[in-house]
């Protein structure tokens, strides 16, 4: 992130960048400069995977609010609903199981979700910088953060203890989220020889979806 800011701050004066150092709050407020209706708008648009215009929506004002709070909500949702779902599944097969709350779900959820949503955009940023195209880390974080919103909604549906239904839900939700990421990435990059990058983003997001299903909602 520091690299991105200094790159912008060097010659180009069109961005209003007031970076006052790593430890000053006011240098980060520019990434949280959104109102409630803006956030809701972006959340709704993350549910439409085909449109591919997310980057043009966030171009002037990318925000990290979505990243932080959607991922936190997702961590809590899959930890708590995963416990409920596991209990219901065990109860279907064996009527005498009692409710146990596995606290380690919270640890695994936090590590995996936060790790994914912080590291994958960072990796794509460095990859695209290496390949020569212009990328913005904040916008990548914003994109991946909002792409997790679908998982929150689907995790509520995944409590239903029917295995076939669960797989359907997670594949649909994962597919929608992954195509949201991939199509927006493709429209942002705009070059033909980086389709492998787009496809790998799709595959990674699907991998996250399947991991969530198999670990938390088994």
């Amino acid at each position: 992130m520091l690299v991105d800011i200094q790159y912008l701050d060097g010659d180009e004066q069109q961005s209003t960048n007031n970076w006052k150092g790593v430890f000053s709050i006011s240098s980060y407020t520019q990434y949280f400069n959104v109102d409630t209706d803006v956030v809701l708008n972006r959340l709704i648009s993350s549910l439409y995977p085909i449109s591919g215009d997310f980057f043009s929506k966030i171009d002037a004002n990318p925000d990290l609010y979505g990243l932080v709070w959607i991922s936190t909500t997702l961590v809590f949702a899959i930890a708590s609903l995963g416990n409920c779902a596991t209990y219901l599944m065990h109860r279907r097969s064996d009527h005498s199981t009692s409710w146990t709350f596995d606290v380690s779900y919270l640890n695994v959820a936090a590590c995996s979700i936060y790790g994914y949503v912080l590291i994958v955009p960072l990796a794509y940023y460095f990859l695209l910088q290496y390949l020569g195209s212009n990328a913005s880390l904040i916008r990548f974080w914003c994109l991946w953060g909002y792409s997790l919103f679908i998982f929150i909604l689907s995790s509520f549906l995944l409590v239903i203890p029917f295995e076939f239904l669960r797989w359907t839900i997670i594949l649909l939700g994962g597919g929608a989220s992954a195509s949201f990421v991939a199509l927006n990435l493709r429209s942002y990059i705009n070059e033909s020889e980086i389709t492998i990058v787009v496809i790998s983003a799709f595959v990674l997001q699907m991998g996250l979806a399947i991991f969530i299903k198999m670990w938390f909602f088994a």
Binding site: T29, F32, D35, W69, T100, S104
Partner: protein, 281 residues
Amino acid sequence: MSHSDTIPLHSTSQSDIDEIENLINSNPSSVLPARPPSPPRASIPISSAPIPPPAFIPSNLPAPTNPKTAPVPSVSSAAPKPPLPPRPSGPGGNISASGFGSPPNTLTEPVWDTVKRDLSRIVSNLKLVVFPNPFREDPGKALRDWDLWGPFFFIVFLGLTLSWSASVKKSEVFAVAFALLAAGAVILTLNVLLLGGHIIFFQSLSLLGYCLFPLDIGALICMLKDNVLVKVVVVAVTLAWSSWAAYPFMSSAVNPRRKALALYPVLLMYVSVGFLIIAID
């Protein structure tokens, strides 16, 4: 001797010197043991005279039997002090600054006094934050005398209660609860600051900690009574109470268009703590 000092004396040093000279003058043959604090000396005028530049201050000691001495400028090292407050001196007594009404020496007071003072502050803060009172509309007035002892006790108590209720992995439950609440309070405060709101960091931490008090009660009840339905009802009620306590402070701190953005994380944290209380078996 103080007559040859050219360094400006601290105000309490001047009174020390006066007292020692008083002792020497009044009782030259014996050294008095520690005595109870002397009554306020009326001879030292507490007036609103302007403060002189710190200069050579001779030991100007009016005799204790002459209470009506005219004001002398060089003694107005005591002048800045306001009219003497009643001195809450404990049985140990402070000789050093007793005559001039300097603040009570909290290092030498009994421990019980300190604990009692902190406890009364916690109780008064609790009454301001959590229970309905006339000051709730202006949060700045409500928690002006913030402290962090109260939040600390409430967070640790909640962690301990959850840990006692759990049947397996007790230490992990405590760690998760404590980390969630402590980091959550810090992150919520940072969230408001990042959204452009105006709050004082520690005041906000203090307030979020005090708003945990209803959930503490709920956790205690849930620990004692293990029925799921009772737990759900109790947690729902205490959750609503906590949110109602935290709402005015958080919502008044940010721009009204961003109110929901600031309040949603508070709700998320309390709901997750409530879920932990219900779910820990």
